[in-house]
Point group: D2
């Protein structure tokens, strides 16, 4: 199985890229919450394809239809189900894939797992399109969290070798987060953003693709959220972030770079600021022992370059069991990182809101 | 909550560093499996403190007592429970911590979550000592997996800035894995190992600590294990690996370095070798779409430097709510990475065995 | 939360009586299974209102729309989602309920739990209508089980004080089960069935309602399914059967009547029949120690009389906090037991199929 | 799997009748709770064998050893693990069972599931002895619930055909509950109790056994606990109650007898008493739509007669595959119902406390 996440808030995602609809059922939302549907739509638009030159040409309106869980537009306590109908599917693009798995896609492993009857069209249930229902659930959680003064925002830290300015781990601010809110392209350094766009355009022209890193911050998370050992915030967040296709690494705070540091360089001294216990630095990324410290929660997710490239590659014919050459055709993002930014925010929001619901603090 | 992992194999860990005992209950083991207890003890010894100069001086025999789940030394189908009694605890070492949280430890977040009655002795339930029951469960899973020709082995890829030779992603072999089996210090390049040991010794002398990276390989894993979206192998493995204290990052295959590559550089062409579909390279780390591809499963975990250092640091007094200076005393590892190697293997074994039990493949 | 069941097969139900749609997502179905949609429709029709004189007048076609999980009409391995659109909803019928909870309905507890914004229309998410998605999931499981020679069938054992002939616990046969398949009214004794129908009609006329008992048999279940303690077949089945509105009791084998028997009267001797170990009697209902014995699995579920009656009853006004008199109007079943028969079969099929998927047997 | 229960409070039970120890790990207890160990011991004593003439002669002190989760005798937030060492085991009593399964015991199904290596001694993991760790967990939950003014108490409603006075569904009082607290034999009508004891003694003499019914009440449970569909209080309670060996039926409120009633006879009118909304009768057993109504929560569990009887019965030899005669020897309770009373209370306490922890109410 695969498509259920959460303990106190439980989301179940369903759909394939070209199935009649994709959707999500969300169980455990508090009753009486007035979802801001315009804001949710604006949020969903950020992951939609076809809205920018640097993205795939496939056009999908991605307007959710709410089937249940609402009463006069307000959550009523019952599971909220929302679906997105598929409209612009060109299944003929994918005939070839059935026999010749695309390198570094899930085509081959889906064949092993599900056999002849797997749905290969558009990547089936492995498609990035399944992040749309994730974003519906996450978009609602973002609104619920904001009510509790918790704000989550991500930006493109890196595409290829072009780097955005990282968040200041201690002082990542509501202001910075608001800046990203209005940004057409999720970077803090618009200059770097332009260079990223050029790199993406250039990759598209050469039939290739690019990877990148997304950095995400959650500010306002109270200390004490999360649990030790297997239910720590790192476990919870990574368990959902790896649900976004193409993610191959997750790190918190200093992450991998901590490996090269000494304790004296990586430790964060406790200080008192405005009568509140904080840390003077934030190499721990707001999580100690799996539990939030009250400092900004910071993590990064690494995305591999989109495996769909039109440059010819080696593959095999499953039917003939022989090696063949393959050039992937069809509409594909040369870089899914820009569109993945809201997905990372959505996933983080779900994980944090679920942890918050399960939280009992003594202090 | 925190201490339960798994779906078809369910492990529940309990204990605090200085509680009368620590232990684990393992539910879902097949009946009739003859555990090799000597091998398990040898495995547990690899994470034991006090066995090498580069480790803490605390001596704990770590000999598990099996309470249930066995019949004539063979698993009987009932949950297997094993405990390790605490013997060498010097609780007086930890009096100070109750009021002054150690920087980058879980002391402060434990205080927030559990209040005055938290167990501060030895780090309580956040102690690295809780990896001993993890290793009991994982050690048994390693034996069960080997029966199915699946071998898992990890090595120290990096400590501070000293690097071991990485596994060859395509050809990581039973031989390499067997070499590590006999190694006193888990590195492929014994030279690099010596330099690591010197660096650890030097860190100890200066009252500081070091972090590092562990690389882990699972070979022989059949294609088709794991599930899409939230139950992929990356999700499952990261959800348990982050349960090992001090882990701050997890990456699979090329991981974070994939962010800088193009699709044409990161994709793995399918080939046919000895009549079997494989990939010519293994940048995907043996996982595509959350499901194993049949290639070696490869991941890396980043460990932050041990936060316990005797160099003076800034902290706060919780009772007086004022900033103070703190030098952590007591017996502490200057680098827990060498001892964490079997923990990573154990965690990987549990995650893979659990996934294997839940697996239905069409092909 | 509430609406998710299962471990290896996971179903998530959503919807309210009058929400735009109700539905279910089913995760864990094997890929490549050709659902017989006509048969499924016939099955769903058995719980549909308006098909018989003894039932409510509300007409709903209950034709599921399949949103995902299929490829050319065959399961593809992805979660199968199906919805039923609401068409014949008369929300004006329910205005009064918002202030005056109907006795023995969930109106009052829904008010406590979800507050002002709960969906009172048609009982909201507590409506018996939510058993339609349960029947979609269960109908598919029935087909999957039949493939493995497992057949499940229920009948009305009792309505008011009129009793049907019970299943023969030892020899409940495929034939008896097939007889029920063609029955318009699910009884073995058609005479008793006629008297039940008359009693229902008479209750309708007097504005009252009737309860009853449904007996369910699963034949062909191999020995060894289920687990001890909390995952026994009794635990699993009761945990889903109580999800059907109005069920207030569940018993297995001799059930409550075993309380009056002696061990020598209630024990089932083991015998060998056709080279197979069986029991000569079947007071244990096919389950010993939570695990199936290979004998017919037999259980009964007690349904309280429908709480919606037009006879005047006492209730309270939530807004005015005073006692009032209430006569429930609208379209209501005087007895939901006949329509609940396929729901019990569906629930049993889901529980048994889920247990089967998780089963490892040594023998 | 089998031995884990709960969502927000998670208990994991382990052990076999004759394993070195049996025990439980309890995850999710609030930190800072001072367990009354004397009271817990008194509670455990109620299920202990050998304390009364009507019980088995096996003597076990059943004194739990607490391995973790405590700090100065107070819960510290970490999982609480407690074990009971096995002392008085006479394994030789059980040699015969290995080949000849006892009728209506789990011997045969354990053989099917776990094969040759199952633990047959004393019933292995199917033994009633496993209710001791259940009672440790439940005994702690009873104390936690009482802090919130929730009291749970059960009594023997029936043994064979001898009936105790049932609880008054509306007015079951703290006083009645306190009376049971001091009772040596858990009945409201001491006269009936004496007759039950005689019947048990008489059954013992004739080598036979008796079943019975236990009725349990939880008073003070606030309205709004539990969830619709699969997580209702009926689902939750039955899912744990069926974990007690020999339970074959569970019913709530009027339960099975509701089947014979009309809606007008079974509905509970809402009334206002002391400014609180209540029901004038309590046929619903305090649960509507799976959610507590604020009225006493009432349920009954049916226990089959102990299958171990010394009267000769028919069985089979597994090795010779032939029918044989069997008279069960050894120390066995002729009626486990009296000892099961605290087990029912414990199970109910765990289910209710777990539901309470997960509860969000709007009103």
């Amino acid at each position: 199985m695969s498509s259920t996440y959460g303990t106190n808030l439980k989301i179940s995602i369903f759909g394939q890229s070209h199935s009649p609809a994709i959707g999500v059922s969300i169980d455990g939302l508090p009753a009486g919450f007035p979802i801001d549907f315009d804001e949710l739509q604006t949020f969903l638009k950020r992951r939609m394809p076809g809205t920018a030159a640097h993205s795939t040409k496939r056009k999908e309106p991605d307007i959710p239809e709410f089937l249940s869980g609402l009463n006069d537009g307000v959550t009523c306590g019952a599971p909220l189900a929302a679906i997105i109908h598929s409209t612009d599917t060109r299944s003929s693009d994918y005939e070839q894939i059935k026999d010749i798995p695309r390198p570094s896609h899930a085509d081959y492993t889906a064949y092993i797992k599900y056999g002849e009857k797997r749905d290969v069209r558009g990547g089936g249930s492995f498609s990035g399109r399944l992040t749309a229902p994730l974003c519906i659930a996450g978009g609602i959680c973002l609104q619920l969290l904001r009510q509790q003064k918790i704000n989550i925002r991500a930006h493109i830290l890196q595409i290829a070798n072009i780097q955005d300015r990282p968040f200041d781990p201690v002082n990542v601010s509501k202001k910075e987060i608001d800046f990203l809110k209005t940004a057409d392209f999720s970077v803090l350094d618009t200059d770097a953003g332009e260079r990223m766009k050029s790199a993406i355009e250039e990759a598209r022209k050469s039939g290739d693709s690019l990877g990148g890193i997304i950095e995400c911050a959650a500010i306002g998370v109270p200390a004490g959220i999360g649990d030790p050992i297997f239910d720590g915030m790192e476990n919870r967040i990574s368990a959902i972030i790896f649900g976004i296709p193409a993610v191959k690494g997750v790190e918190f705070g200093n992450g991998f770079s901590a490996a090269e540091l000494r304790g004296s360089q990586n430790n964060d001294a406790f200080v008192i600021r405005n009568d509140v216990i904080q840390t003077s630095t934030n190499r721990h990324g707001g999580i100690l022992g799996g539990i939030t410290s009250g400092m900004p929660l910071l993590f990064r997710a690494a995305f591999k370059p989109t495996p769909s490239i039109s440059i010819e590659q080696g593959s095999v014919s499953l039917s003939r069991k022989e090696e063949v050459r393959l050039a992937v055709t069809g509409r594909h993002d040369p870089c899914i990182v820009p569109r993945a930014v809201p997905c990372v925010e959505a996933a983080a929001a779900i994980a944090i809101y679920d942890a918050l619901l399960g939280c009992k603090c003594a202090i």
